[in-house]
């Protein structure tokens, strides 16, 4: 086995496989390392891939990729102990190319995407764990050492090794992760026949829904829950701020259980067979946790760079991973053309990210993380909205009030000072 390449990419997730694909297409020799049995076998996420980023690289990828359901509806639910309120949005456009999002199963999808990198000429090495970056005497990074001591040399390394990115951590490229900047996601995958999924969720054949839930079932822990429809399974999970969770002394699977016991969810999953249980950390610090992205001979992409956008109502990661993988590869290709692999040359990666949705969106929503740490969002406001609607729609034979009088009354119960402060903050941050 040759152990010298133009580019070594660590991690065959969406960021790494995209980087390997783009670089190999441009003629670089690429080694793509994956620690699992096959790409995707170690990977977990909530469930939805937004199409735009991959469609730029593989036009009409949705005609060949292993996808579950086109997401044609999005439902945002507020839940209190006794009430629930849903905002249900559907649009026929979402059911047509180029679509907006698909539910996917990573074990299948990531394997397919890594296969595209292989077809373009990248060498995929599975069951291969990169232990450390090699640093040359000049200070430049020169490849990686594998767990068995084998060295793989390359003038450029792209670390796409996920949220825990031990490579970046050991090399001191990234500060330690903080519990307040992470969410723990835990998920059950539950099997149901496709027609039952469609019946219960009100879906056309082959179409899917993305449902998120905010409310009292997290017992004040920052975060929420989701249900995504796959072809033959439902992905049901919770994402919980890790600092809040530690303090709450609640266990993550207990919060998921509380969610599954919500009457609406219990109906949805009735008779479904649990098939898999998985967990993953989500970097939610946004722009505040983005490390230095490029050094001499190395760039960070995807979760390892903290590229997840949580704007409150949208949680995006895979599309940021794909765009960052593409931009890292394009930067490497350009650096080879220029014959300049210095930190300054690879530093153009950051500029490219700033001009793309990745850092532009993280910058726009840089205040979202601290705004979402406010626990009134998970307890008080769902309650306030529910009691407002309850008074509006309940017919009780007593004299009615006008909408604004009811609204003012209920907001007054929150406390004017807090309500105003949160309203102003919501304008600024989300």
């Amino acid at each position: 086995m040759s152990t010298a390449y133009d580019l070594v990419v660590v991690g065959a997730g969406p960021a790494g496989s995209t980087a390997a694909l783009v670089a190999a297409r441009s003629g670089l020799t690429v080694a793509l390392l994956e620690r699992g049995d096959h790409p995707g076998s170690k990977n977990m996420f909530g469930g939805v891939l937004h199409t735009h980023s991959l469609n730029e690289i593989i036009p009409r990828f949705y005609e060949e990729a292993p996808l579950e359901r086109a997401i044609t509806r999005r439902v945002i639910n507020l839940v209190t102990d006794e009430a629930s309120l849903a905002l249900d949005f559907g649009h026929r456009k979402l059911a047509r190319p180029p679509y907006n999002a698909f539910s996917i199963i990573r074990s299948r999808f990531d394997r397919w995407l890594a296969g595209k990198a292989q077809e373009a000429g990248a060498l995929l090495l599975t069951r291969t764990v990169a232990q450390e970056l090699i640093r040359g005497r000049s200070g430049a990074y020169e490849g990686v050492v594998l767990q068995d001591g084998t060295e793989i040399h390359a003038p450029v390394t792209i670390c796409a090794d996920g949220v825990n990115s031990l490579l970046a951590k050991k090399a001191g490229l990234r500060p330690p992760l903080r519990t307040d900047q992470l969410a723990l996601g835990v998920k059950q995958t539950l099997a149901l026949p496709p027609d039952v999924i469609e019946d219960r969720c009100g879906l056309q054949a082959g179409e899917g829904v993305d449902m998120i839930y905010i409310g009292s079932f997290t017992r004040g822990v920052g975060g929420g829950a989701f249900v995504y429809t796959n072809s033959r399974t439902l992905s049901v999970g919770v994402t919980l701020n890790l600092a809040d969770l530690s303090r709450s002394r609640l266990r993550p699977e207990q919060v998921l259980e509380l969610f599954l016991e919500e009457p609406r969810i219990a109906e949805l999953v009735e008779g479904a067979a649990p098939r898999e249980y998985s967990a993953h950390l989500i970097p939610e610090g946004g722009a505040h946790m983005v490390p230095t992205l490029a050094h001499h001979g190395v760039m960070l992409a995807g979760d390892s760079a903290g590229f997840v956008l949580n704007s409150g109502l949208n949680l995006e990661g895979a599309n940021l991973a794909i765009t960052s993988g593409r931009l890292a590869a394009e930067t490497a290709v350009q650096a080879y053309l220029d014959g300049d692999l210095s930190a300054q040359s690879l530093g153009r990666y950051r500029t490219a990210l700033e001009q793309s949705h990745v850092l532009a969106d993280l910058h726009t929503f840089k205040g979202a993380h601290s705004f979402l740490a406010n626990n009134r969002i998970y307890t008080t406001y769902p309650q306030t909205v529910a009691s407002f609607i309850e008074e509006v729609i309940t017919v009780g034979g007593t004299p009615k009030r006008r909408l604004h009088a009811i609204a003012l009354d209920h907001l007054g119960k929150v406390g004017w000072r807090d309500a105003l402060r949160d309203l102003v903050a919501s304008r600024r941050y989300i």
């Binding site: 620690r35 699992g36 049995d37 995707g40 076998s41 170690k42 990977n43 977990m44 996420f45 199963i105 990573r106 074990s107 599975t126 069951r127 291969t128 764990v129 767990q147 949220v163 825990n164 031990l166 330690p176 992760l177 903080r178 519990t179 992470l182 723990l184 835990v186 998920k187 059950q188 995958t189 796959n230 399974t233 992905s235 890790l242 969770l245 530690s246 002394r249 609640l250 266990r251 993550p252 699977e253 259980e257 649990p274 098939r275 898999e276 249980y277 998985s278 967990a279 993953h280 950390l281």
Partner: protein, 90 residues
């Protein structure tokens, strides 16, 4: 569903050597022992003598313990290539 039933749904190729080691001498004096409540696979359990008992077999490789332990008790690595949990439906 209890964690023991949840992780029994998952596919593992368990290595003989653990990928995470815990120096539990730090644990009895740890004020929060957050590993006990946050590990989604319940790899950390309360031990009357050592404070915390750790077993690696059911690990989901999420990294939570690595972050919540601020005592320096957890030495965290990935399992050797091909070992550990393997997701099929995540």
């Amino acid at each position: 569903m209890a964690v023991v039933h949840l992780v029994s749904l998952d596919y593992y190729n368990i290595d003989r050597q653990p990928h995470i080691t815990v120096n539990s001498s730090f644990c009895p004096t740890c004020p929060h022992q957050a590993c006990l409540v946050t590990c989604p696979a319940e790899c950390y359990t309360k031990d009357p003598e050592r404070g915390v008992q750790f077993s690696y077999e059911a690990c989901l490789e999420c990294g939570t313990c690595r972050v919540v332990c601020d005592r320096g008790a957890v030495t965290w690595d990935y399992p050797r290539g091909g070992f550990g949990v393997g997701f099929r439906l995540a």
